[in-house]
């Protein structure tokens, strides 16, 4: 199973052994592995993805600006930062944070890290979204609104994977 490569050696032995012993189907095994991975590394994964998206978004913005300057074509600058894919990814990641929070509450694990990740994530999310007219208050406001939507999505997602 490809997913099992992401487990630690101990987890791979113990978890896959337990699943084999309980006669779980291959699909069930995959589902359990995904759930374990999300519980173990969910917040790290989402934060990493968010940082990657943020960096990529800013890099594309810089690339457009550089192109406008280098080729003396101001039209290039008009497209700065407007990469809809990144916006969609931000939404997806916001849902991921919500799912992480929901699963955290369900499993009763420590909440400090989750709350911290959500705060950092929503701040990055707000700052990285170029469709928001920038001011000091707006990023925070939009961050809260987006995160709220993400938590709803995340709760729905969390219900599915923790069923």
């Amino acid at each position: 199973m490809i997913l099992a490569r992401f487990l630690s050696d101990t987890d791979r032995e113990a978890v896959l052994g337990d699943l084999a012993e309980s006669g779980a189907s291959r699909f069930r095994m995959s589902l359990e592995v995904v759930r374990l991975l999300l519980r173990r590394h969910g917040w790290t994964l989402f934060l990493t993805l968010l940082l990657v998206c943020f960096t990529a978004n800013q890099a594309s913005d810089l690339a457009w600006r550089f192109a406008a300057w280098f080729f003396h074509q101001p039209a290039f600058a008009a497209g700065t930062g407007r990469v809809p894919t990144w916006d969609k990814l931000y939404w997806l990641l916001s849902g991921g944070f919500g799912a992480d929070l929901y699963l955290g509450w369900r499993s009763g694990r420590a909440q400090r890290q989750n709350v911290g990740v959500v705060i950092v994530g929503s701040a990055l999310f707000s700052l990285g979204d170029d469709q928001i007219p920038y001011s000091h208050a707006l990023p925070v406001l939009f961050g809260v609104v987006f995160l709220g939507g993400g938590i709803v999505l995340g709760a729905l997602f969390g219900r599915v994977i923790s069923a």
């Binding site: 101990t10 987890d11 791979r12 032995e13 113990a14 978890v15 896959l16 052994g17 337990d18 699943l19 084999a20 012993e21 309980s22 359990e32 759930r35 374990l36 999300l38 519980r39 173990r40 369900r106 499993s107 009763g108 694990r109 420590a110 923790s162």
Partner: protein
């Protein structure tokens, strides 16, 4: 103070004694508490309890039924026993005099 699931896990581990490992603990929790228990929840809680010094784990033997994979055995430590006992006493004390009867 322990969480509810942490207490269930400690109790199941203590009850199983030398035969406590992932799948057996999971089955014990499902039987005693009448609730489903995912392996993800089980292993993250085992890790948390181990980091708190309430249980200790080690890799056991492999069997053909497990596809030749080793078991992660678990044992409640003295500190774990004390914490579980304190949790139980707190619940009993908090519940004293409260009739948890469900109205018909």
């Amino acid at each position: 103070m322990l969480g509810e699931f942490e207490y269930l896990l400690l109790t199941a581990t203590a009850r199983l004694g030398e035969g406590a490992y992932g799948a057996a603990i999971r089955k014990e929790i499902e039987l005693s508490a009448g609730r489903r228990c995912s392996l993800g929840a089980l292993y993250t809680t085992i890790d948390r309890l181990e980091s708190k010094g309430l249980i200790e784990t080690w890799m056991g033997e492999a069997t053909p039924q497990r596809g030749g994979r080793a078991k992660r055995m678990a044992r409640v430590t003295e500190k774990g026993s004390r914490e579980a006992s304190a949790f139980y006493k707190a619940v009993v004390k908090a519940t004293a005099g409260v009739p948890w009867s469900v109205p018909a």
